[in-house]
């Protein structure tokens, strides 16, 4: 073991390298397409090289001004690739805390994050200039990863982070601005331990990683399985059907953290393959339809196992049922080490209430600090998190989800805050009001729908043009309905159920 010195995050870097060094396998990482493999020594050297370049980031001479920068937060927005893993390891070694942002965010959305979270610098896999011409590009820190400095630095006070912080995840706040969830080293490791133990994921397994590493699900299942216990990764740079088939045709035992869409795509793209090496297929992010689960089992002889988790508390439940086909809404039993109870909620019946989670993986808190339903435990002890999900426990102790207490829209696992989209729509010239909500979608669980009140001259194209300039593709309303006025309830609030009826009647009227 390496000696424990330096910042808390260093423990994660050291643990990763210890696992690499003790790996009996020469290939700890395979990159698809191409099936290029990386041995532990090369991987370690790449991390060292990245760390040296990181030390020079922002420096105009030999030493970096940023090395002395007390602001530890670094915004990271990139697609899956070797550089992502290397960047995380190098940042942790240097005591930096990555702020994990979606890779599809637009320039303006990155700019919004910079102004909210005030990171020391950004690492992006595309040339996004978050603050216009004045922001300073620092060049490529790793192949394909560009570093840039936010424009206004002097006098800007960084957000305060606890010493033990390892990452900051983004979650949709109740207002239009995103919130950060601070996860500590111990909480990340507890999450990885609880998940791998419950799902019996072993160091000898290979995680076929098609889901984004930048999301909580991919980060913990893939990256943290590697850090925690040296489980190898087959990393897909793009989840194209042919590339997924290539990765799954490789030697087993393979574990695939999937989504309902990925599983459906696999059924369609498999051809003659039976994927004998696939030992465990997971689904999370959006509700798994029972009919898809049955089709998958029929095709590949094994079920899709549902996993349920949240950014604030990590993994919550997993399907351990004998046949692995759950009724719609059921997400299995709590993970080892996780306790789920139902907090009664006014207006709900039949044992339905808010899902309350008690787990050592519950995050430290929000940043910028916000009052939330998050009560972190002391180091190593369980904390509690009151989710915004509504559900009940069935007679077998399984969690059954029935809805949410808030308006957040779940687009294939990515959370969209309707308030953010509504605020933008109201800025479109001629638009006087807008309501945004989720409508059912076969591939994504939900998609974004907007009801817009505006002058006759306002067109769908004009609304979309504003959205395209300001929103990542998954947040852009897939359906836009114009209406003369919004229906209101007797108390004068927008009548959302009347709106939902209006939308579904318009869908039925279409040929």
């Amino acid at each position: 073991m390496r000696p424990m010195t330096g910042p808390a995050t260093r423990a994660l870097h050291d643990r990763l390298l210890d696992n690499l060094a003790s790996s009996p396998e020469r290939a700890v990482l395979r990159i698809h397409p191409g099936n290029r493999s990386l041995d532990p020594d090369t991987f370690e050297r790449t991390i060292l090289g990245a760390e040296r370049r990181l030390a020079r980031v922002g420096g105009h001479g030999e030493r970096s001004a940023l090395l002395e920068d007390p602001n530890r937060l670094v915004l990271l927005s990139a697609r899956n690739g070797e550089a992502y893993l290397v960047a995380i390891a190098a940042l942790w070694k240097r005591g930096r805390v990555p702020l994990l942002a979606d890779a599809d965010l637009t320039r303006d959305e990155i700019g919004e994050l910079v102004s909210t979270f005030r990171p020391s610098f950004c690492l992006l896999d595309r040339r996004v200039d978050p603050e216009g011409a004045d922001s300073e590009s620092l060049g490529e820190m790793l192949p394909g990863l560009h570093a840039c400095l936010p424009k206004v630095r002097a006098g800007v006070k960084p957000l305060s982070l606890p010493d033990e912080a390892a990452i900051v995840r983004l979650t949709s706040g109740t207002a239009a601005r995103p919130r950060g969830v601070v996860v500590s080293v111990e909480q990340l490791l507890a999450d990885a331990r609880q998940i791998t133990r419950t799902m019996k994921i072993e160091p000898g397994d290979t995680m076929v990683t098609a889901i984004p590493l930048g999301h909580a699900y991919g980060f913990v299942h893939a990256l943290m399985s590697l850090v925690h216990q040296g489980t190898r990764l087959a990393l897909l740079e793009q989840p194209l059907p042919a590339i997924l088939v290539e990765a799954l045709a490789g030697p087993g035992p393979l574990v695939l953290p999937g989504t309902p869409y990925l599983c459906e795509m696999l059924i369609q793209a498999a051809g003659r393959h039976r994927f004998k090496g696939l030992r465990l297929c997971l689904s999370a992010g959006a509700p798994l339809p029972e009919v898809l689960s049955r089709a998958f089992k029929e095709r590949f002889g094994q079920p899709i196992r549902t996993f349920y988790g949240a950014s604030e508390c990590g993994g919550i439940a997993f399907d351990r049922s004998p046949d692995g086909v759950l009724q719609d809404g059921c997400v299995g039993t709590p993970l080892d080490g996780v306790e789920v109870t139902i907090q009664p909620q006014a207006g709900q019946e039949n044992g339905v209430g808010r899902i309350l989670v008690r787990s050592a993986a519950v995050a430290s808190g929000y940043t910028p600090a916000a009052a939330g339903d998050l009560h972190p435990g002391a180091a190593g002890r369980p904390g509690t998190f009151l989710t915004s999900d509504l559900g009940r426990l069935d007679d077998k102790g399984r969690v059954v989800l029935t809805g949410r207490v808030d308006r957040i829209i779940n687009v294939g696992g990515r959370k969209v805050n309707p308030a953010e989209v509504e605020a933008l729509l109201k800025k479109v010239p001629g638009v006087s009001d807008a309501v945004v909500f989720g409508v059912p979608d076969r591939h994504r669980g939900q998609t974004v729908c907007a009801c817009v009140v505006g002058a006759k001259a306002v067109t769908r194209e004009a609304v979309l043009e504003t959205c395209r300039a300001n929103l990542a593709p998954y947040k852009i309303p897939r359906r836009i309905e114009f209406t003369a006025r919004l229906p209101v309830t007797a108390r004068g609030k927008t009548d959302r159920s009347a709106l939902a009826r209006l939308i579904s009647s318009r869908s039925e009227a279409r040929p």
Binding site: D104, P241, A242, M265, H443, I476, R478
Partner: protein, 89 residues
Amino acid sequence: MASNDISPAALKRFIVRRLRLDQVEPESIADEAPLVGGGLNLDSIDLLELVVGLEKEYGVKIADVTEGRTALASVQSLAEFLAARRPGA
């Protein structure tokens, strides 16, 4: 059964049907308009769905990200890609 019709009009109908874009008239899609970041607002799941659809309906596999980006840049580029890559072409 692989489809033979790779005219821009047929490809527009394929995109609208495959992605269930029930608010989009196929004729309203311009041949050269970018599919990503353009009028259709396609997200990552849409692009995957098109790749799956091209394989199932046109018998053409896309196994390379760069190739996929070039092929799916616009209806025009998709027509050119299919003309060059279809079985028997």
